[in-house]
């Protein structure tokens, strides 16, 4: 009777229900925000859960490599193979490890006394070691065949003890440091160039991985000296308030390097402006012995005398993680593996430990949905990282009691110093006590 136009919503169940039991379920989506209320609160709850779960799954220790008979003094990453690691100990032994099987593949007696430095050549077929017996030795990477003796490819005898070693990225050139910094050609048995600057000993030398002609070294007069291999004299040096033990160049940014200092801090410098460090990284409670950058250049790990290792982001003043174990004593050397996933620490009690760089990361091959869920959780944690409840949970780390108390003590000491300086400034003529920023406090002078 009526000429009306009418349509009532009617859905065909065939479009919404799966055909057979073997299919996956159909999930039609509508992203209209009015169908999804409370977006912010729900995301916040998910971020809170993700942060809590990250703490639950944060188990970074993977394996311990046992076998050295004296403390591990230095380590070297193989340039071509991810699963090979070389380590040198304080009794002159060098061991080659297979990291996937957690086994030692080869052992050789390299020096009498400490193995002071080790580096693998860029081609990966040989490696160099220096030791307390004033020699530089080059060895083959393959194990000797049946019945053959372990013989170095090349031995160079020097006059003084060499304390550090590093190889050029592309050329057959390496550098050693001891009483002076020497640049050697692999074919010659005497250095092609020596740099001195009135210092009696250098503790480490490093080639810049990006600007491959530049070197830096840490000297015992509390300074860091920069060299260019092509020149005949050092470029400049920065003298700090305490001595640096080692330094590491940022593999992604050509001009940044980080040095591990005795005054419990690490300093990142821009090579061009040495008057004040870019960042001061503070969190250790004892001298920092070694530092290594991640291959992405965004983070680095530091090993300290206080039996912990800490991971810092390259631009933050405080660490994002701290790894410690009751069994790990003073951590002497540290390396970040070239696939950005693992950290290797060599310590005083003759063990090398393998740790995960991201403590809560799931290793191995992840299914696509797992990967998506992990990256969604990561983004949520970043989005809400500043909210107080989430920040409190994300920052929480268990520390050994002595480190916890030591941190508190250092904070009280720092606060006391700051209060005294503030009072001095308040009660003096305005302008007579200048404000010195934390960064500038640690640099004494720059010498050209």
């Amino acid at each position: 009777r009526y000429q009306m136009k009418v349509k009532v919503l009617s859905r065909n169940p065939d479009d919404y229900v799966r055909e057979t039991k073997l299919d996956i379920q159909r999930v039609p989506r509508n992203y209209d925000p009015s169908l999804h209320p409370f977006e912010v609160s729900r995301e916040y709850t998910r971020a809170l859960n993700a942060t809590k779960l990250e703490r639950v799954f944060a188990k970074p220790f993977v394996a311990s490599l046992d076998g050295h008979r004296d403390g591990v003094n230095c380590m070297a990453k193989h340039t071509e193979s991810l699963s090979t690691l070389l380590s040198g100990s304080c009794d002159g032994e060098v061991k080659v490890w297979n990291l996937s099987k957690h086994e030692c593949v080869r052992t050789l007696q390299a020096h009498e006394g400490f193995v002071r430095g080790m580096v693998v050549r860029f081609c990966g077929t040989s490696f160099f070691t220096v030791g307390d017996d004033k020699t530089i030795k080059q060895w083959k990477m393959e194990s000797p065949g049946y019945g053959e003796e372990e013989e170095p490819l090349n031995t160079i005898l020097g006059k003084t003890v060499y304390t550090g070693l590093d190889h050029h990225q592309n050329d057959p050139v390496f550098a050693t440091c001891g009483q002076q910094v020497d640049i050697w050609d692999e074919q010659r048995s005497s250095p092609i160039r020596s740099f001195t600057w009135g210092v009696d000993s250098f503790s480490s030398v490093r080639f810049n991985p990006v600007e491959t002609e530049l070197l830096a070294s840490c000297a015992s007069d509390r300074s860091i000296v920069l060299y260019d291999m092509r020149e005949s004299t050092p470029l400049k040096k920065v003298i700090m308030s305490m001595r640096s033990n080692t330094l590491c160049w940022n593999p992604m940014e050509a001009y940044y390097f980080t040095c591990a200092n005795e005054d419990y801090n690490l300093y990142t410098y821009d090579m061009r402006y040495l008057t004040s460090p870019i960042i001061v990284h503070m969190d250790h409670v004892s001298a920092v012995l070694d530092v290594d950058y991640a291959p992405t250049g965004k983070e680095f790990v530091s090993a300290s005398f206080d039996k912990t290792l800490r991971i810092f982001a390259k631009d933050s003043g405080h660490s994002r993680s701290v790894y410690h174990t009751k069994r790990m004593q003073h951590v002497i050397c540290i390396k970040w593996s070239a696939d950005n996933k693992y950290i290797l620490s060599g310590s005083d009690e003759m063990n090398i430990r393998l740790w995960k760089a991201n403590a809560a990361e799931k290793l191995g091959v992840l299914a696509p949905r797992e990967r998506e869920a992990a990256s969604y959780s990561q983004k949520l944690k970043e989005k809400f990282q500043h909210h107080p409840q989430i920040r409190r949970i994300a920052r929480h780390r268990h520390l050994p009691k002595n480190i916890y108390h030591q941190t508190k003590e250092l904070r009280i000491m720092k606060e006391a110093r700051r209060r005294k300086e503030r009072n001095l400034r308040k009660h003096s003529k305005p302008g007579s006590v200048p404000m010195v920023s934390e960064k500038e406090k640690h640099v004494v002078t720059v010498v050209k």
Binding site: R1, Y2, Q3, M4, K5, V6, K7, V8, L9, S10, R11, P13, D15, Y16, V17, Q25, R26, V27, P28, R29, N30, Y31, D32, P33, S34, L35, H36, P37, F38, E39, V40, S41, R42, Y44, T45, R46, N49, H387, R418, E421, R422, R425, K426, M435
Partner: protein
């Protein structure tokens, strides 16, 4: 060989502006100072990402499978004269089967509730009859008589549990009719509302208590003594989980479990308030009162928008997902379209039932209105009421048992804590300016100097004689002039703003003042 023709429509396909606006969450931020390069970079990247997400969501809108229903009569014909039987005959069989009557005259007027997915229906008769039905397949899930008077029935988070407010206490039942809990702390409950994302059951009692029960944990979250008398008008705002209570003195009060007092008290009607309804976006509130008026308010700004006169006041109100309002006047159910934008003169649809209407509820995702009245239950066809495209991860009427279990686990994991219920649900996304200021002050005190203070400008020493005293002074003066201009500009802006506010306030005072003298015509 490439053809020489060029693309007549270069670039990506255009997206209609209103669709992009639908997915917009927030305005773009003011760009920070150019020295804060890291912050600028972070903000620029995140704004790019959110723009991309907005565009993608708007493009996806094209792929939605269903379209909303509609009812259009001829030019001279009014749609409210079209009867339900005619509509049921005109549409297909499945839709026609959605119009049905249940004759249940024995157990009193019926209250109605549909589950969140719209698949399951719960009926509660005043004399104790409680039944839950899968109304699409007409399967009876359970039917019990609780042997007591029933004030209200409500589904909990899924079709497995429901709550019945009986004469004395609150009872929770399973979908098989098994009594799970008898909660004696909740006594004399008259009305209930379930907040789905917080897993909270809010109950309003005859003793003027508003109580919240967390049904996932089983704890009473808050018991608020409202001191406003018998509470029998209640509704929830689905946008921010605030409970609206209507009172006999014409006020509507807004409550959250975090405060012992009402968040807002609005005087809405000159008699008692009979019913309240809020739309799903949380923008409009429709109230009806004993003064036979139907009023529409903008809840975000708390302003009255429209006021209509109904000859017989509306005793029940319900808003559908697409904004249709159903009002029950006596035994006639009237449905109005678009009550808040265009002034409405006649209803969209109307239907008469046998007996006074006791409960009205639109079925989510279907073009169906459930009417509970003295003689039973009717399911009416209302073309254009339901949201055509549901989201499978949120409420899926076609979900299997396994999908329901997975959804339940995920929903429990993202259950929102009751502390976060407030008038503005996006409060967490905003910068807490007060705490920021406090923290900055603490830091200044601790350090002894202000780390964010602008450093004095020290001109760079230029070589080759370009740093003579006069040149250095000139450079310093330039920077000083620029800073002075900034300060002056800011001062002028603040002053203009204050002037404008003062003028507006004076204007408001002038318009509201009722004193009109003959000399007003000489006033400027």
């Amino acid at each position: 060989m490439f053809s020489q023709k060029s693309d007549p429509f270069p670039g990506p396909a255009p997206i209609p502006e209103d669709r992009v606006q639908k997915f917009k969450r927030k305005e773009k931020l003011k760009k920070p100072h150019h020295k804060q390069y890291k912050l600028r970079d972070i903000i620029a990247r995140s704004e790019d990402a959110s723009e991309m997400a907005q565009k993608q969501a708007a493009r996806f809108d094209l792929l939605l499978p269903e379209e909303a229903g509609f009812l259009e009569g001829d030019e001279d014909e009014d749609t409210f004269t079209i009867s339900q039987e005619d509509i049921a005959d005109a549409v297909d069989i499945t839709s026609g089967a959605k119009y049905f009557n249940l004759k249940l005259s024995q157990f009193g007027p019926y209250r109605v509730d549909y589950s969140k997915t719209g698949r399951h229906l719960l009926l509660g008769g005043r004399r104790g009859h409680v039944a839950c039905i899968d109304w699409v397949s007409k399967q009876l899930m359970c039917e019990i008589n609780v042997m007591e008077s029933v004030n209200d029935v409500k589904w909990l988070h899924s079709e497995t549990m429901y709550a019945v407010a009986q004469k004395k206490w609150l009872y929770l039942y399973d979908s098989n009719g098994i009594e799970l809990h008898c909660i004696r702390k909740f006594n004399d409950v008259l009305r209930m509302q379930f907040l789905p994302y917080h897993f909270l059951l809010a109950t309003a009692s005859a003793t003027s208590f508003l109580q919240y029960l967390d049904v996932s944990v089983g704890k009473e979250v808050a018991a608020i003594c409202t001191k406003t008398g018998r509470l029998d008008v209640m509704c929830q705002n689905p946008y921010n989980a605030i409970i609206h209570l209507g009172h006999a003195n014409g006020t509507v009060t807004l409550w959250s479990p975090n405060q012992k007092e009402a968040l807002v008290k609005m005087l809405c009607h000159q008699g008692g308030v009979r019913s309240v309804a809020v739309d799903k976006t949380g923008t409009y509130m429709v109230t009806s009162g004993m003064d036979k008026k139907l009023k529409v308010y903008d809840i975000r700004a708390f302003k009255p928008l429209k006021s209509y006169f109904l000859p017989a006041g509306a005793s029940c109100l319900s808003l559908s997902q697409r904004g249709l309002l159903s009002a029950a006047t006596g035994d006639v159910v009237q449905i109005y379209k678009d009550v808040w934008s265009t002034p409405v003169t006649k209803p969209y649809m109307a239907h008469r039932v046998r007996g006074t209407v006791w409960g009205l509820h639109f079925c989510p995702f279907e073009d169906v209105l459930g009417v509970g009245y003295g003689e039973g239950f009717t399911s009416m066809l209302v073309p254009g009421a339901g949201e055509p495209n549901f989201d499978g991860l949120d409420a899926n009427p076609y979900r299997s048992a396994k999908q329901r279990q997975e959804w339940e686990v995920k929903a429990l994991l993202e259950k929102i804590q009751p502390d976060l219920i407030s008038l503005d649900p996006t409060a967490l996304a905003q910068v807490d300016q007060a705490t920021l200021a406090q923290r900055h002050q603490d830091r200044v005190e601790a350090l002894g100097f202000d780390p964010l203070a602008k450093e004095k400008f020290v001109p760079k020493f230029k070589k080759k004689g370009r740093s003579s005293a006069g040149a250095v002074e000139r450079r310093k003066k330039q920077v000083a002039h620029e800073e002075q201009r900034d300060i002056i500009r800011k001062g002028v802006e603040d002053k203009m703003k204050m002037e404008k506010e003062r003028r507006e306030r004076e204007q408001n005072v002038a318009t509201f003042s009722s004193q009109k003298s003959a000399l007003d015509r000489f006033k400027k």
